[in-house]
């Protein structure tokens, strides 16, 4: 691991309780969900990571504690380093603080994660669905959201099938 990135990992371990790891040359730090704003701020202000290219989530479905991981990939345009942050989010309540205040670009990315994974971002200025229509039921990228092979709903039995149909909302 590069010395510079190592010092960032140490700083995050000390101030936010983050756990660093390395895979295929990429540095990842797992931070507690409550410390995510602080971790982003440390990386932006003290380590010159001025961009947030990726904000997405991963669903480890049957798991209840830490079911979701919210993934942040930060980039430094000056030093040309990537840095990954991850925070575990429980199934309920599925919520984490917004990093909109640190990186304004997180606004739409967080809306996308809310839309497709159903993770709420506390303090977000405009948390609406972005990809799916506003009245959509469920969150499609959750692993328990079905992809095809569903019973076909006709007009005469729409309600009947709708009751037992999985909507990925559990």
């Amino acid at each position: 691991m590069e010395e510079y990135l190592q010092s960032a990992v140490n700083e995050l371990a000390q101030r936010c309780g983050g756990q660093g790891s390395e895979f295929r040359g990429e540095v990842t730090v797992m931070v507690p969900a409550a410390k995510i704003i602080e971790a982003c701020r440390i990386l932006r202000d003290d380590f010159a990571f001025d961009m947030l290219p990726v904000l997405t989530a991963v669903d480890y479905y049957p798991r209840k504690d830490g079911r979701f991981h919210v993934v942040y990939v930060l980039y430094s345009t000056r030093l040309r380093y990537y840095f990954n942050l991850r925070a575990a989010v429980d199934e309920s309540p599925a919520e984490i603080d917004t990093v909109e205040g640190v990186f304004p670009s997180a606004n739409w990315r967080e809306r996308e994660v809310w839309d497709l994974f159903g993770i709420k971002f506390k303090g977000h200025s405009d948390l609406r669905r972005i990809m799916m229509p506003p009245n959509w039921q469920g969150h499609p990228l959750r692993k328990d959201y079905p992809l095809g092979y569903e019973e076909v709903q006709y007009t005469f039995n729409y309600e009947e099938i709708d009751v037992k149909k999985p909507h990925g909302e559990r």
Binding site: D50, V58, D59, N107, W108, E112, N135
Partner: protein, 410 residues
């Protein structure tokens, strides 16, 4: 429950507009999604004071096809076919970045010949994407003839894609570990023919536009954005380089051997539509330079990694080798199983940083694929560029940031 799609009401969006919109002092107008100037299915809710844009709220998702979800249900090889359908003007790059992510995850090595062909094709792809851009964005500003010329040149490049892969746009030619197969013998002369013609044609476009007073009136000083705003809003690509920061993945984090080629990253400092135009035209010329160098030193040899656990054997081997037959069967029925882990890899698309976040759970299907697409931040920053300009200029600004809605909505 109904199956009808509801829309956001103005009441739900009122925090995005000024109080004057609610009293009727300013007008809230809907633009798109079915509007030729929105380059696809982009909907803008525009707040107007007379003809001046006070605010605009982009509404995306009309082209959302759930590709990320669908990819989780297919094996790695089969999922790649869907990547073409996102950014349909940079299909080669979508394949490339997906293959690069798998190569990073599994440790596959793309041989030098494959790398060189990847570079040639992705630069050709960049040129054809910029050609569409120069045509459509000048059409938005009422310069009709450039569009017809640009489409003519784009056709020559699509013919090369058809020559190598049998497909004009959705090629799926770049595969994890290398290429689908080697290029045909006519490839080199066909590409040389195109890159000899192209620079002359770029001169023609420039003669039509660069010093055209009508074009400059519509572009200089319109849709300005500066570097810190770009970084905060994650705007990359020509829009960022037009503000003066030479951020380009091909130089910053070289992939596929871009470090071997001698080329410049064109930048401008004004940050307006005209600066973006100059950057893109200069980029097309640099792309031609890269293609020429890559053709001159195109090495001979294999075009894909020899690791049969990941790369299917060529047809000629299947007839003579039992192992090859078994590998072929296993790869196309079961797929390959990369180790557990997550990687991020990025390339420079004609619009900016195109990245893939790929996570594997050691199964034959990707556990999670996320495409970091450049069009999303560009659209997100559109209101910042459009505020205070006329509606007619808003059309020009949408054209100048060169969005692809398939790329934004996925």
């Amino acid at each position: 429950m109904t199956t009808e799609i509801q829309e956001f009401t103005l009441d739900e969006l009122k925090h995005l507009f000024s109080p004057a919109a609610l009293t009727g002092e300013t007008m809230v107008l809907n633009m798109g999604p079915q509007h030729p100037s929105t380059h696809g299915v982009l909907r803008l809710i525009v707040e107007l004071d007379g003809e001046k844009v006070v605010n605009c709220v982009p509404d995306i998702g009309f082209l959302h096809t759930g590709i990320e979800k669908n990819m989780e249900a297919k094996t790695y090889q089969k999922a790649e076919v869907m990547t073409d359908r996102m950014d349909y003007l940079y299909t080669i790059g979508n394949n490339l970045v997906y293959s690069l992510a798998i190569e990073k995850l599994t440790g596959l090595q793309s041989p030098p010949r494959s790398d060189a062909i990847r570079v040639i094709l992705s630069e050709l792809s960049r040129i054809q994407s910029h050609l569409i851009w120069i045509g459509t964005s000048s059409l938005d500003l009422a310069a009709m003839s450039t569009f017809l010329y640009a489409m003519r040149e784009r056709e020559m490049i699509l013919d090369i894609f058809e020559l190598v892969s049998g497909q004009r746009m959705m090629t799926t030619y770049i595969r994890p570990g290398g290429l689908w197969r080697d290029v045909p013998a006519e490839f080199e002369s066909a590409v040389r023919n195109v890159i000899d013609i192209l620079p002359r044609r770029f001169d023609e476009y420039e003669a039509l536009l660069t010093n055209n007073l009508l074009f400059k009136d519509r572009t200089v000083g319109i849709g300005k954005i500066d570097t810190p705003t770009c970084l905060a809003w994650n705007v990359t690509g020509p829009t960022l380089r037009a503000t003066g920061l030479a951020h380009d993945q091909r130089k910053d984090n070289p992939y596929s051997g871009y470090e071997q080629y001698d080329f410049e990253i064109p930048t401008q400092t004004a940050g307006d539509i005209y600066a973006r135009y100059l950057v893109r035209v200069a980029e097309m010329r640099e792309s031609v330079k890269i293609i020429r160098q890559a053709l001159d030193r195109l090495p001979y040899g294999p075009v894909s990694d020899n690791n049969r656990k990941y790369v299917p054997p060529p047809r000629s081997e299947i007839g003579v080798s039992m192992e090859a037959l078994i590998h072929h069967f296993k790869l196309w029925t079961e797929g390959f199983t990369p180790p557990v882990g997550a990687v991020y890899s990025a390339v420079e698309s004609p619009r900016g940083e195109l990245g893939v976040y790929l996570e594997s759970d050691s199964g034959p299907k990707p556990f999670r694929v996320h495409y970091r697409t450049p069009s999303v931040p560009l659209l997100q920053a559109l209101p910042l560029m459009a505020k205070g300009h006329f509606v007619a200029d808003l059309v020009g600004i949408i054209g100048s940031i060169d969005i692809v809605l398939g790329d934004a909505d996925r």
